[in-house]
């Protein structure tokens, strides 16, 4: 059984340097570093994210705790309590996510900017990434423009059947079946992301409202879009951000809808984070927030293509 680390000493030094750069970046901008619990009493309702659950021990005898999938809810409670701009570098955990770019335990940099919309935050994300990787050009593409430019399909007007036909023309997908968003995800992962590999630093914004997650939904050109963005660098998905939903009742409705989708997919529903909803009810300032994968940023900074070689001990070695 190998005991040695999977990352070389040069990688460990590069990580330490990167963390110092991140902290300096936020210190210079007056963004406060915070810490919040890893073990939370409520999880996340998103059907596509599974938490790891801690159920053994006297402290969890009454109810299990969820290892956080991101520090989002706790940080929003700090914002509602008047924290002002905050950032956190935290471990996050997602069950079943392992591969060349995924480890079930990983490092997230998450920060929130009161008064920023998602475009202002994209500018700051670009500044941070350039501070870490060196200056480079970057651009923004709407989700619609991304699909049209890369594979010639309008993701808002194409029918589910058209999306499926486009996907099956190039890939053996067996008996896979799903809704519109499912086929959009197939196309995104199988055809669009490979195209993004040749596009350098690229923000994608204004997602279909059904993929808004925790972002505000607005109408743009007659279509409902979520004010959400993703950052890709050479096809590597690096960050996900929102112009944050601040309305407590709409947030509750989305949690309930998530749980209905979970039930329809045969997944157990998750408890809803009532503390987050109470914080939104008390008043979350208009803000934008983003979560960025630190391990992937380190991969890009060091030219490494497998996350297992930038982690001292990946999942198999931990």
């Amino acid at each position: 059984m190998p005991w040695q680390p999977g990352a070389g000493l040069d990688q460990l030094r590069a990580r330490a340097g990167l963390l110092a750069t991140l902290r300096r970046f936020f210190d210079e901008r007056g963004v406060l570093e915070v810490e919040t619990p890893l073990l939370c009493s409520a999880g996340i309702t998103d059907p596509a994210i599974e938490p790891l659950i801690v159920g053994e021990g006297r402290s969890v005898a009454a109810a299990p705790r969820y290892l956080q999938t991101s520090p989002e809810y706790a940080m929003k409670r700090l914002l509602a309590a008047g924290s002002g701009p905050i950032y956190q570098i935290a471990r996050a955990f997602r069950d079943g996510e392992a591969g060349a770019r995924h480890n079930p335990e990983f490092s997230l940099l998450e920060w929130y900017r009161p008064g920023f919309d998602h475009h202002a935050l994209m500018d700051e994300v670009a500044a941070l990434v350039c501070a870490c990787l060196g200056q480079r050009p970057w651009r923004k593409l709407s989700y619609r423009a991304l699909f049209v430019d890369s594979i010639g399909i309008d993701p808002f007007s194409a029918s589910s059947a058209q999306l499926e036909t486009q996907a099956r023309a190039a890939h053996d997908l067996g008996d896979l079946a799903g809704d519109r968003d499912f086929w959009l995800d197939v196309l995104l992962t199988h055809q669009v992301e490979p195209w993004l590999a040749g596009q350098g630093l690229c923000f994608v914004y204004d997602y279909p409202a059904t993929q808004a997650a925790l972002s505000r939904i607005v109408t743009v050109d007659g279509v409902a879009v979520g004010q959400r963005f993703e950052l890709y660098i050479d096809g590597v998905e690096l960050a996900n951000g929102y112009c944050e939903l601040t309305d407590a009742s709409e947030q509750r409705a989305r949690f309930i809808a998530d749980n209905e989708r979970r039930r329809a997919l045969g997944q157990a529903p998750r408890p809803i984070d009532e503390r987050l909803l109470a914080a939104l009810d008390a008043g979350l300032p208009a803000c934008s927030g983003v979560a960025l994968g630190v391990d992937r940023l380190l991969m890009l900074a060091t030219g490494e293509t497998d996350i297992r070689r930038v982690l001292a001990f990946d999942w198999e070695r931990s």
Partner: protein, 189 residues
Amino acid sequence: MANYSTNEFRSGLKVMLDGDPCSILENEFVKPGKGQAFNRVRLRNLATGRVWERTFKSGDSLEGADVMDRDMQYLYNDGEFWHFMEPGTFEQFQADAKAVGDSHLWLKEQDECVVTLYNGSPLSVTPPNFVELEIVETDPGLKGDTAQGGSKPATLVTGAVVKVPLFITTGEVVRVDTRTGEYQNRVSK
């Protein structure tokens, strides 16, 4: 057989897919920032040899395939079947032309090869990487032409035709790489 979930898919794992036993070659996990995760899996169909990529939803599972590789000695061909024996147990297996495929071109009696069993019966036969076989027919050798390039076809005792240097003559034994079908060297008797 046990079921295996996509996150247990490893290179070498044998699974049933569309009714055929398959060997997993690669397993790539892909996920958009938010949304459905997939596993893009490269497989080899062990019945046909075809290699291709199939996408699964992460968390889907496949039934394991009762497939195992065994070292066996090739005994003889009876005109219809090729017969193999496991040296440890003396258990014998017969493989049909479909299972043996092109490997029959490299099978020499007494040689050790790998027989892949599926539900206890031969599914495919893999010859050794290198075999030594006698030439039964080739154009007359050009004596003293060892330095010059150039090659000619030679028919081996198994029926395989390989390209050999001009100086090789009928009755000589040559060493061949079975993966490429290329001549390696002359074997002194």
